[in-house]
């Protein structure tokens, strides 16, 4: 994927953004090697597929969070927005019995619309992103429960629905490689997001907003419009995550989602995106999300007690952010 580090980083022998990604990548490789040596059950096709499947939802959410974090903002609503979009798909497909493509479209549009609302509240009403999206997080959590009547909405009447995440187009062609479609969708979202960040005006303004919003404003750019566009894009990506999780569970689980934003943000920072904005990559986020899943899966395979699993995960997050601080200190 494209290297979209800010120009300031490209100087000399300092720890650059590219290097940080290398660091995260080395961390991922190190984890995989250690777990493979520690347990013969780790490096099995079925387990690798389980890890990828576990990464798909958090990976997509983390990509949405990456876009927002690069602008110097934060989106705490990604988890419950995902659930909201899943519930909307449930309403369209199960309650109204409409065809599958409409459910897919509806979920993504619902995500875009909610992103537009968050973006507008932040850009026009000047509510800080942390507060605006905290509010959205709660609003969407409540709406999901209201709309669904607090019960899961099952997709039993839409037979193709589980194929979105659980089916395998590759597996149909190459039976030895039953990579779930959910994983392909994660990679597709990553490619598109990397393209948007690296090659489009929206991408350029995403970085510019995070680096120096005032300078962008003074140069006559409609800052508010671009900011709203970023949140709306992140919202539609959350819509994709909503479809993935609903398809995987064959149901929209209305109470789920809160807390998932923290895993997404963790993946973003492990991947080297700066929480202060202006710097970050989709590839780094993808690696960050994989590190979280590999860690969770590997520790489980080694039968490490659940209490200690969380301690190790927390330690890795701090180490990753410490690396980020070292990098900025050398700039």
């Amino acid at each position: 994927m494209t290297d979209t580090a800010a120009p300031a980083q490209k100087s000399g022998i300092r720890i650059s953004g590219a290097f940080h990604r290398l660091l995260a990548f080395s961390g991922l490789i190190a984890l995989v090697v250690v777990f493979s040596l520690a347990s013969p059950n780790f490096m099995q096709t079925q387990n690798i597929l389980a890890i990828l499947q576990a990464t798909s939802v958090n990976g997509v959410l983390a990509i949405a969070a990456t876009l927002v974090i690069i602008t110097g903002g934060i989106d705490l609503s990604v988890g419950t927005l995902m659930t909201f979009c899943a519930v909307i798909a449930g309403v369209i497909l199960t309650y109204f019995g409409l065809p599958l493509p409409l459910g897919v479209l509806g979920a993504i549009l619902a995500g875009t619309a909610c992103g537009l609302v968050s973006g507008t509240v932040i850009a026009k009403l000047k509510v800080p992103p942390f507060i605006a999206t905290l509010g959205m997080m709660l609003i969407l959590k409540g709406l999901s429960l209201v709309i669904s009547g607090t019960r899961p909405i099952y997709f039993n009447d839409t037979p193709g629905f589980t194929q979105i995440s659980q089916g395998s187009i590759i597996g149909a062609l190459v039976p030895a490689l039953p990579i779930p479609n959910g994983v392909l969708i994660l990679f597709a979202v990553a490619l598109i997001a990397a393209f948007v960040l690296g090659k489009t005006a929206l991408g350029r303004y995403t970085f510019a907003l995070g680096s120096n919003e005032e300078a962008v404003r003074l140069s006559g750019v409609n800052v508010d419009r671009w900011k709203i566009a970023v949140y709306a894009t992140a919202g539609s990506i959350c819509g994709v995550a909503g479809l993935l999780i609903a398809s995987r569970l064959n149901s929209a689980q209305p109470a789920l989602g809160q807390g998932y934003e923290l895993d997404a943000i963790a993946a973003v920072v492990i991947g080297g995106t700066s929480l202060s904005g202006g710097r970050g990559t989709v590839l780094g986020t993808l690696i960050g999300a994989l590190i979280i899943s590999v860690l969770a899966n590997g520790l489980r395979i080694l039968s490490v007690a659940q209490e200690w699993q969380t301690v190790v995960t927390g330690t890795i997050i701090i180490l990753a952010v410490y690396a980020d601080i070292l990098r900025r200190r050398t700039l």
């Binding site: 720890i15 290097f19 660091l23 080395s26 961390g27 190190a30 984890l31 250690v34 777990f35 040596l37 520690a38 347990s39 059950n41 780790f42 099995q44 079925q46 387990n47 389980a50 499947q53 576990a54 939802v57 899961p152 099952y154 659980q166 999780i245 995987r248 569970l249 064959n250 149901s251 689980q253 109470a255 789920l256 989602g257 807390g259 899943s293 969770a296 899966n297 590997g298 520790l299 489980r300 395979i301 080694l302 039968s303 490490v304 007690a305 659940q306 200690w308 190790v312 330690t315 890795i316 180490l319 410490y322 690396a323 070292l326």
Partner: protein
Amino acid sequence: MLNRRHLLGAISALAMLASAGAPALAQENYDIALISKGFQHQFWQAVKAGADQAAAEFGVNVTFEGPDTETQVDRQMDMLAAALSRQPDAIGFAALDSQAATPLLQQAEAANIPIIAFDSGVDSDIPLTTVTTDNVAAAALAADKMAELIGNAGKVAVVAHDQTSRTGIDRVDGFVNRIAEAYPDIEVVSVQYGGGDQLQSTEITKSILLANPDLKGIFGANEGSALGVANGKTELGSDIVVIGFDSGAAQKGMVESGVMAGAITQNPVGIGYETVKAAIGALNGETLPEIIDSGFDWYDASNMNDPEIAAVLYD
């Protein structure tokens, strides 16, 4: 470069530590993975304590995992998938959503890993058995206690949560049938359903009490129903005998203060213990009954601080 080496070193050291911390599996030891519906809640910690107790007693390796909240269905699937990859000898599973778990359960069946369902179980025919509270017997004990407290004669009523759930049906049947069989002088005048909602159960209780001024007692068939019954009793200043079900801080307080005569508690420690025991039984080729009762207890103000009772009560 120093930074990178430090960080990489730290990461691998951590991972090594983690692997060193994993229990070494002796060849003959069974490895049993329990995936529960929760982890932090006192109830689940009590289930875990029972599982650990069985693990120590029978010399097997048991792991116990569950999502942070009972809403995180996908996290539970990740845990089940990782447990399958570990290739344990048996799996104990309490499904948050049976349907979502079906593909993974089929995978376990194909890999010949026996599945033991526990707590609310799994709505599927793949599990070999389900370790759960025998709600019929538990409610029958409530009936016996009610009879004892009202002197084996008079009118009683039941306020239950619903007539569709397994626990709702079993607890009402267990109570009503026991009274009919064993206590000819006691009459169940009314069975009403309040959805487990405290307020609704309060209103129902008041209407039952107003319609039957000579009522002797009411059985509240789950936590919300029991609290509602006790509220209704207090609001009308009645002195009927109230018997509840399960615990929770509010209900424990009412038992302590005497508003409630006592309640039936399920035995989460027993659920964990019996699940591991059933898994070992399955691995040794024993035939398991469809349902394994994990036990239940009666508690009142006199025994609720006894260590073995206090251990199964939760806030």
